[in-house]
């Protein structure tokens, strides 16, 4: 296969998950698919990438997406972690721009209280129902 042909085929074969989106011909940015040398930093970046939502695919984290933009976001996150930024800072930076939508780990704030307190409320409600039953049983016993 000649080179342009190959490029064309590759562009076709490897276009983003959504066929409606055209894709850049540029190769992925350096750290889109390259791990950081320091395993601790890479682990921190990985954890953050798994909770940041891909902006163009909508149903995946950027860690699980073939989209170019997800690759650029991974590149962005890895570079900043390598430059010494903390995952919390980067998360805050992204939320400042894209809102809470961008993280799969909703921050605890009044709007998400029902979400985060749901387990406790459910446990309380369940115990309340059970307690009623146990009491009745004790009376019988």
């Amino acid at each position: 296969m000649s080179r342009p042909d190959r490029l064309f085929m590759i562009a076709l074969a490897l276009a983003a998950a959504s066929p409606a989106l055209a894709d850049s011909l540029l190769p992925p940015t350096e750290y889109a698919n390259k791990q950081l040398a320091d395993p601790r930093q890479e682990a921190a970046a990985r954890e953050l990438m798994h909770e940041v939502r891909c902006l163009v695919c909508q149903g995946q984290s950027i860690a699980d997406s073939d989209a170019d933009m997800a690759g650029d976001m991974r590149n962005n996150i890895r570079r900043r972690i390598a430059a010494g930024e903390s995952p919390q800072q980067i998360r805050a930076w992204l939320i400042q721009r894209y809102g809470n939508w961008v993280t799969y780990d909703p921050p605890v704030e009044p709007l998400t209280w029902p979400l985060w307190f749901a387990p406790i409320v459910l446990l309380g409600a369940g115990l309340f129902l059970m307690r009623g039953q146990f009491k009745r049983r004790k009376k019988k016993a």
Partner: protein, 178 residues
């Protein structure tokens, strides 16, 4: 009759779920992620020029007069669709700058000679860094930035004829300091 009331809780919960589902069905989410930086100052950035002999876009340009910042790419099909509208705006004398996302100079050159060149300055954003820092989630997108460097308006997707009036109105409004 406490137990009696408890027995109706499931129905109430279910009806609430049904209401939410119906709401989502009839006013479906627009699925657009708007930038939270609208109303905030444009962040600082440094980008190389996209074309030889053509100035790059820089943060310092956003002083005095409002400008329009168009995020586009030569590989983006909807960007072709909005080209005539951008040309029309440029003819009205509205200054439009462009940032080309993940692009190559020769491709940009070809795109502009084919579909028209409405731009003043053109910068190259090879790793989407500017795109991320202004909260844009795709191409094309168009931002109105006022004379004090504040982002006043974001348009997501290609500019159609129907969008023109709104965009020009937002541009005119940006002349008045907020």
């Amino acid at each position: 009759m406490k137990r009696g009331l408890v027995l109706w809780v499931p129905l109430v919960v279910f009806l609430a779920i049904g209401a939410v589902a119906a709401w989502n069905l009839y006013s479906p989410s627009d699925r657009l992620i708007h930038s939270r930086l609208v109303g905030q100052p444009l962040p600082a950035f440094v980008l190389p020029a996209a074309l030889p002999g053509r100035a790059t876009v820089s943060r310092a340009d956003y002083a005095g007069e409002p400008r329009i910042l168009n995020i586009f790419a030569s590989w983006c099909v909807p960007c072709i669709a909005e080209a005539p509208q951008l040309m029309a705006m440029a003819r009205r004398g509205i200054p439009i700058d462009a940032v080309a996302i993940r692009d190559r100079p020769q491709d940009i050159q070809m795109f502009l000679s084919r579909w028209g060149d409405p731009y003043r300055n053109v910068a190259l954003d090879a790793d989407s860094s500017l795109q991320l820092s202004i909260g844009s989630s795709g191409v094309p997108e168009t931002f109105v930035i006022d004379g004090s460097g504040t982002i006043r308006f974001q348009h997501i997707g290609p500019i159609t004829d129907a969008d023109m009036a709104r965009l020009i109105q937002e541009y005119e409004a940006a002349r008045v300091p907020s």
